[in-house]
Each structure stands twice: as C-alpha cells, then as structure tokens.
C-alpha cells in the first residue's frame, strides 16, 4: 500500500484495499480461565461482521487478538494471508519484533469503546499523528489528509478543538477518522457506542454505516442488535470463549438455532 503518492485529492478510498481476516483455532487463557477456546472465523474482504454475545464471552479479547494487542497462546490470525504478530519459522509460529508488529498495525484500524483520543493534541493532530509518525506523509500533507477524513465523519469544523471539549459522539467520530488515517484494510470496532449517551449513538452508527457502504472490511463488537441487523453481512454469536452460531442477520437474529443464542436475544431485544 503506497500512501506516498500524489493522488491525495482523489476519492478517499482510492488505494484502500479491503482485506480478508482469518482466525485460525485461537486459544487464549489467563491461568485456569479460558477466554478464547478455539475460535475459527473467516471474514471475506469488504464483509461487515457483527460479533454479539453476553459480556465476558470473549468478544473484545478476540478483537484485541486480531490486531495483536493480546497474544493468543495457541493459533494465529492472518490478514490477507499474512500472519499477524507472528511468522512461520521451520513449521512453527515465532513472534515478530515489536517494530514489525507496529508496522502491521497500520493495516488494521481499531476503534475503542472509550475513544482513547490523545487529550493533549488537537483533533487535527490526533488524526494526523499516525501518518507523520510512521513516515508515510509529511506534516502538511498529513494535515490535509486529516481534514479530508474529519470532513468525512462530519467533524471538519472541530479540527482545532481538543478532545475534552467535544461530546462523546463527536470524540468517537474523531477516533474513527484517526483509525482511517493509515488507510487500513480492515477496521475493528470494540463496542463503539457503549460509552455514549443514547441520543449520541445515532451519529456514530451513521458514520460506521457509511464506512460499511464504502466496502471496507469491518468487524464490529456491538450490543446494538438493531444496528447489527441493518448493517452486518454476517452475525457471529459468542459465549464462553466459543463461537456458537454464525450466519446472516436473518438466520442468527430471527431464527437462532442454538438455545444460548435464543436466550441471549430474548434478554436484549
């Protein structure tokens, strides 16, 4: 992916290629507690996957394993066929150096539940930081690109503000723009609306919907069942560190086969 090209004014997604995500038999445990218990998941390029399930079911951990914020003890994740955080060495998986892992993260956007914007930087600098820090763009170009992204999430007018001067919904929209700054092939959302007041949820979901329509691969951990139904191509239900059921929204949300799915949906709907 070459971002250092002169076509910055071209449409935003011009050189962003959606990427496939494959999770191969991932196990993760803390002591005796199994957080992920053999997860296999394939997300096709451009597909929008919603992961639902009760709290403590391992949804967020799975997301954090995908961009290697957490390392699994067994199994691995690959992005467009390339393992994340590890490489094959004589038939075994070997951990990459931190520098290599950081370089891979540029291909994976991550949006946190609590936004985690950098409070000491302006909105514009929050978005422009990654392209500058990784040497992909020089500062003026990065700022122009950041403005473009902020306009896209409807935050162009707040470029000079500091994050704490914004509402939760506005902060989350900036966080999405920041995650887009390196033109990732896949974006992971970890309960992006859970920390928001109910009336602010809509503006964030609208931005995610817009992203889904643009053809980027999205993996969204969410409690918004209605949103999952509307946006997702596929819904994955997790419980106890396992995927119990997956399929189209109509299959999983309207005719759940697994009794745990039925029980969960009856409680949240």
């Amino acid at each position: 992916m070459s971002v250092l090209n002169p076509e910055l004014d071209s449409p935003v997604d011009a050189d962003t290629v959606p990427v496939a995500v494959e999770v191969h038999d991932v196990h993760k445990w803390y002591g005796a507690h199994r957080v992920l218990d053999g997860i296999d998941l394939t997300v096709a390029p451009g597909e929008v996957t919603a992961i639902i399930g009760p709290s403590g079911s391992g949804k967020s951990t799975l997301l954090r394993v995908i961009n290697h914020l957490e390392q699994p003890q067994l199994g691995h994740v690959s992005l467009g066929g390339e393992p994340v955080g590890v490489r094959w060495h004589r038939g075994r998986l070997k951990e990459l150096s931190e520098r290599q892992i950081l370089a891979q993260r540029g291909r994976i956007g991550f949006v946190f539940q609590n936004f985690n914007l950098f409070p000491h930087l302006t909105v514009l600098d929050n978005v422009a930081a990654a392209p500058v820090a990784t040497g992909q763009l020089r500062k003026p170009e990065a700022q122009r690109w950041a403005r473009e992204l902020l306009d896209r999430v409807g935050m162009g007018e707040k470029a000079a503000a500091y994050p704490r001067q914004l509402s939760g919904g506005q902060q989350q929209r900036v966080a999405i723009a920041r995650a887009l700054a390196l033109r990732p092939g896949v974006i992971l959302f970890d309960e992006p609306t859970s920390a928001l007041d109910p009336e602010l949820v809509g503006e964030v979901l609208a931005v995610i919907k817009d992203l889904a329509a643009s053809g980027t691969t999205l993996v969204i951990v969410t409690h918004e069942i209605g949103f999952a139904r509307e946006v997702a191509d596929r819904v994955v239900f997790m419980d106890g560190g396992r995927i119990l059921e997956q399929g189209s929204p109509a299959e999983v949300l309207d005719q759940p086969r697994h009794p745990r799915t039925r029980e969960f949906l009856s409680r949240v709907l």
Binding site: F110, N116, F118, P119, A129, A130, T134
Partner: protein, 341 residues
C-alpha cells in the same frame, strides 16, 4: 473559636453588605411596594461571622508587630544589608549557585528519566539496577556523597574505560578532571536523579492505560509513543513534584560549600568569618536571594503547568496578569457607575 467572643460585636451593628436588598426596592412605585417587600422578606440574610473579624484583626496586629520589629531592630543592620546585597563577591557566589543548580537539575532530570524507563522496562536486570540505585542514593545523605566524591581522587588516581579485569582503552587523570565544580555537579546530580526517577515514574504511571493502547493500536513507533504521546501527558503530573524537587535543589546547593566551592551561601559564610559583625545582615542577604530564586522558579512553574494542561482542562485558568487586568477593568467599571449615580 469560643462562643464567648461572639457578643463582642452584636450582629445588628455589622455594616450593610452588597448582598442586602438593593435600595431601588424602597424607591419603587407604591403599588409594587408590597410585592417588593414580600420579595425582600424572602431574601436570606447571610450568617454574620464577628469572631472571624476579631481573629483577623488580631493576626494583622501580630504581623504588623513582626514587620515593625524587622524594620526597626538595630540588630538586623539594614544599612549593612544594603551594602552587602549586590556586592560582587556575593554575586559571584550567586552565579555559582545558579550554575550548579542548572547543571544538576538538567543532569538529574535526564538521569531520572533513564532510571524511570529502566524501572518500567521489561528487563528484570534493568529494573533491579534502577531500584538499587534509587534505594542507595535516597539512603545516603547528600553531604556524604559530596565528601566521598571530594576524596574520590585519593581512592582512584586515574579513571579508565575498558573491559573489566581486562585491557583499558582510555585513561583520565582524576585530579585534572575533577574540579570542585564537577564534583559538586556530579554529587548533586547523582542524588537528584534518584528522586527525579520516582517523580518521573509516578508521572508515567499516571497516564491512562488506554493511551498506551491507542498509540500501540495505531502502530506509532515506540520512540514516538513515549516522546509525543505518553511523556507530554506524564509531564502534567511530573512538573509540580519536580519543581518541589528543584526548589529543594536550589537550597541544597548550599552544601557545596563543604567541597570548597564558594556558592552564594559559601561566600556569605566566608565574608561572615572575615567581618564577624556583619553575619546577621549577610545571612539576611542570603535569605532574600534564596527567596528570590524560589519565587522565580514558582512563577516559571505556573506557566509550564499551564502549558501542559492544554487539552486536560476545557478552559485554561487565567494568568495572574490576566486576572489583574480583569480585576482592574471591573473595578474601573464599578467606580464609573458609582460616580455616575
């Protein structure tokens, strides 16, 4: 405060306050008077605190007495104070104090950052070394460190860089390298680094874990993560504690007198032994200069803290200058209103 004091000023003699009902209420037209009365009857009369006034007056009298004593007691010899205040011999000492403070503060902070990073690193060896260093230099009195360094050249005549127990590549002559200034700065920096390490570590730990995660998730290079994301936020917690440390250092430099460096205190001390009659004004001169240095540091602290609170506060607090300007302008408006009516 004793209740017996309260009747000394009966509440009804207390002067009217600006919270009392405005005088316009009385001048209102007749038919609205009753509603105005009803409203002023609703107005809560604030509790008077006559005891507070009495105590304040007592304290002010005490302060006035102390000031009077300072100004008129011939013991302080204010004429000699004036004579000594800006004497070149003391100014040279002041410059030495400033130099030692500046070098030690910078080297100490740099050492503190390195020690804090070592302490927070994933390497158990680095963590242990950092811990032992801090433990050792916080345990040994500064004066002992300084005197030990002063006698260091007797212990090791030359310093050399090379392989332990193996060949040496580079030799220093200790006596040429270790001037009094170098000994003072090295001693203070070694000591300062131990305390600065804890201040910096506390600051780094105060940064939200989510910030580290966000920086890592964006794939920012490690150096950038620390220098641009974590450390600037840590500074908000580091600055007040480090300034505390710095003020201690300004005064701590007075110990370099014992390694025969004539700093401000040292030159006061040596002048005092030459002119024993002037020892009190000389000590006053030292006191006033140390107060001035500390005040300058405090003013700088205010502006540095303000700088690093960008983004942490929704609006920055006004600077003293802004506050003064605002106070003056409201005063002028008020005076104009009063004179107009």
């Amino acid at each position: 405060m004793s209740d017996a004091l309260v009747p000394a000023v009966p509440p009804d003699t207390a002067r009217p306050r600006d919270t009392d009902p405005p005088p316009q209420a009385a001048a209102a037209p007749a038919e609205t008077t009753s509603t105005a009365d009803a409203r002023s009857a609703q107005r809560v009369i604030p509790l008077r605190h006559p005891g507070r006034w009495i105590v304040s007056v007592g304290v002010l009298v005490l302060v006035a007495q102390i000031v009077h004593g300072l100004a008129t007691n011939p013991f302080y010899q204010w004429d000699r104070f004036q004579y000594w205040f800006a004497r070149p011999v003391l100014m040279n000492g002041l410059v030495i104090t400033l130099e030692v403070t500046a070098y030690s503060a910078l080297l100490g902070l740099a050492g503190g950052i390195v020690l804090a990073l070592a302490r927070l690193s994933r390497s158990p060896v680095l963590r242990a070394i950092s811990w032992v260093y801090v433990w050792l230099f916080r345990s040994v009195p500064l004066i002992v460190v300084l005197l030990f360094l002063y006698n260091f050249s007797a212990l090791y005549r030359t310093l050399s860089v090379g392989v332990p127990f193996g060949p040496a590549f580079w030799h220093f002559d200790e006596s040429k390298l270790a001037t009094d200034m170098v000994i003072a700065v090295v001693g203070l920096s070694l000591n300062e680094a131990a305390y600065a390490a804890e201040v910096v570590r506390a600051g780094i730990l105060s940064v939200d874990q989510g910030q580290h995660e966000a920086a890592a998730a964006l794939g920012l290079p490690r150096r950038y993560q620390f220098a641009r994301i974590v450390f600037p936020q840590a500074l908000r917690a580091i600055v007040p504690s480090y300034v505390n440390q710095l003020i201690g250092l300004v005064k701590g430099t007075s110990l370099v007198f014992y390694v025969s460096l004539l700093d401000l205190f040292g030159s006061v001390q040596s002048m005092g032994s030459t002119y024993p009659g002037d020892i009190v004004p000389l000590l006053l001169v030292a006191t006033v200069w140390y107060v001035i240095l500390t005040s300058v540091v405090s003013v700088v602290q205010f502006y540095v803290e303000r700088h690093y609170s960008r983004g942490a506060l929704r609006t920055l607090p006004p600077t003293p200058v802004q506050r003064l300007r605002h106070g003056l302008s409201t005063l002028i408006v008020r005076v104009r209103k009063e004179t107009a009516s």
